[in-house]
Amino acid sequence: MPQTGNILVIGAGIAGMKASLMLAGASNKVYLVEKLPIIGGKVIKNEESFPNLECSTCMVAPIQQDVLQNPNIETLTYSVVEKIEGSAGDFSVVIRKKARYVSLTDCIGCGMCYEPCPVSLKNEWEENLIDRKAIYVPCSGSLPNVPVIDSEHCLKLLGKEECNLCVESCAFEAINLDDSDEVMEIKVGAVILATGSATIDLSTLPNLGYGTLPGVYAPMEFERLFASNGPTLGEIVLRGSEKIPESIAVIHCAGRKEKKYCSAVCCMYSFKFARFLKHKIPSAHVFNIYSDICVPGKSYQSFYKSVDGADTEMLYTSSIEDVKVSENESGLKVAYPDAAGAMEELNVDMVILAAALVPGDDAAPLAEVAGVDLDSRGFIATVLDGSGSMETSRRGVFVAGTAEGPKDIQNSVIQAESAAGQVMGIVTSGVSGS
C-alpha cells in the first residue's frame, strides 16, 4: 500500500487552513490547493468578525503565516484539482497549477510592477468596487504577497501588444511571461473539501433592486467598504455620488424564500453592519428590517441586544419576501408590510441586503471531480449516520466549513478539526474511521 500519510485539502479558507495545520502538526504531508492566488478565504475579507468584533487579520494572519511557513504543508495557490481516483487510503490526484507568470520564490512583493501595467479592470476580490491591474495582488496585506498575471487581460499574453512593462520594472527577474500551467500527480490517503460558499446572486431578486439601483449593496461589498485596507480605506461612501449615507436600511433574509433555508449567519452580520455604520457615521439612522432573528448559541443574543436600539432601529415585517426597494428623488424607498400587513415606507440613502449563502459556483464541478453527492440545496452532502460525521458519500473524502452548508466561523473550525480527527483515523490505521 502506498504512503497513506499524505492528505489533500482543497480550499485555503479558515476551515482548510485549520485542518491543514492540525494534520501537518501530526507530521503528515499536506497538499493545500487554493484556486485564488492568495490564502485566507472569506474571513480576511471582513475587517471584524462577530460576536466580539475581533479584528479578523489579527486572528487569521498568524494562521496564514503558520500555513505558509510549515514545512509539512505544500500550499498550491492559483491551482485546481482535476482528478481524484482510487479509494480511501490510496487516492491518486491530478492538480493543475495555473501559470502565475510570477515566481513565488524570487518575488518579494515589493509592488514595483503594479504601477507600470497599462491594463486596468474591476477587482473581483474587492467586489468590483475598485480597479486592479493585469498584474495584481487582490488586496494589500495579501499572503502570499506575490502578484499573479491575469492571462485573460494581459495585453502581451493576449498577443495584442508586445508589452513588457512589468518585466522591466522587476529588479528580481521574478516575472516570466512564457510561464505555463503545470500538472502534477500526487498520492494521498484522504481528501478534505473546504471550498467554502458564495452569496446568492442578488440580481435574481428583482424587487430588491440590486444591480439596477447603485445604492443597494451586497453584504460583501459593504464589508469591503468598511475594511481599512479596502477600496475606500474604510470610508463608507456611496457608489458614484461619493456621499456619506445618512440613513441606511439593512434588509434581512434576502433570498431565503427562494433558497428555502435560513443561512444562519446573516442576522449576526447584519447587526455587525449596524454597529459598523453607527461607529463610522455616528449621526446616521440605521434600520434593520427583519421577520425573524436567528442568534443561536450562548454569546450571540447579547450582541444583538447591545445593537438593538443603540445602533439600529429594528423594524418587524410580517413577510420579508414582500419587501420592495425602489428609487425616489432623494435616494431609495423601502416598502415593507408591517405587523398588521399594512405597507410601510422608509426613505433611505443606502440599502444593504443580507444575502442567503449558496453553494459556490465551483461546488458542482468539484463534487464531480471528487465523486461526492450534493444535498438537496446543492451543498456537499455528508453521510447522515446521525453522529455528525464529516465524511461525504465517498469513503475517505471529507468536507468541512460552509462547503457543507451555511455556518459561522466557529462551526467551520469545529468541522475542520472534526474532519482532521477522522482523517487521522484513516491515515494512521489505514482503514476508514467509523
Binding site: C55, C58, A227
Partner: protein
C-alpha cells in the same frame, strides 16, 4: 553637544509594539509605503502586558521625548487578557507622573489592530506632532537627573 535653540527640534520617540497586532499594522503601513517620522523607533515585544513600570520609567529618564505603547484592541489580545492588565498598569504610571508633574502626555497607550496600517501611520504621526509641540523632554536638558 546640547541641542542648540535654533535647530528644529527632532523628537526621539520609542514605540513598544505588540507582535501580533500593532507590529503587524506597522508592517502593513510599510508595505503600503506610508510616510512615517524617522525619529520614531520600533521595539517589538510579544504583548503590551510585557511592558513594566521599570522599562517605561527608565526609558523616560534616559531622555525619551515620547513613549508609545501600542497593542491589540481590548478583547483581541492573542493571549486573552494581556492588554487589560497593560491598560491598568499604564493608568497607574500616568497618574504617578501626572501627580509629580513629569509630563504624562509624553506617554501614550494606543490600540491598533493588524489591519489598521493607515491608522498606525496616523497614530504615530499625530503622536510625533504632539511631542514636537511639547518640546524636548526636560530631563534631557537637565544635568540634575
Amino acid at each position: 553637544m546640547k541641542e542648540k535653540a535654533g535647530v528644529e527640534f527632532v523628537p526621539s520617540i520609542v514605540g513598544f509594539l505588540c507582535n501580533w497586532c500593532t507590529y503587524a499594522a506597522a508592517d502593513l503601513a510599510g508595505s503600503s509605503k506610508l510616510e512615517l517620522p524617522p525619529s520614531f523607533s520600533v521595539i517589538r515585544v510579544m504583548c503590551s502586558s510585557r511592558i513594566d513600570h521599570n522599562l517605561l520609567l527608565s526609558t523616560f529618564f534616559k531622555g525619551a521625548d515620547g513613549i508609545l505603547v501600542a497593542g491589540c484592541h481590548p478583547g483581541d489580545c492573542h493571549y486573552g487578557e494581556g492588554n487589560y492588565y497593560a491598560r491598568r498598569r499604564f493608568a497607574l504610571l500616568k497618574k504617578v507622573m501626572d501627580t509629580v508633574n513629569l509630563d504624562p502626555d509624553r506617554l501614550q497607550l494606543s490600540w491598533v489592530s493588524a489591519a489598521e496600517g493607515k491608522r498606525y501611520a496616523e497614530v504615530v504621526g499625530e503622536f510625533t506632532e504632539k511631542i514636537k509641540e511639547l518640546g524636548p523632554n526636560p530631563i534631557k536638558n537637565s544635568t540634575r537627573f
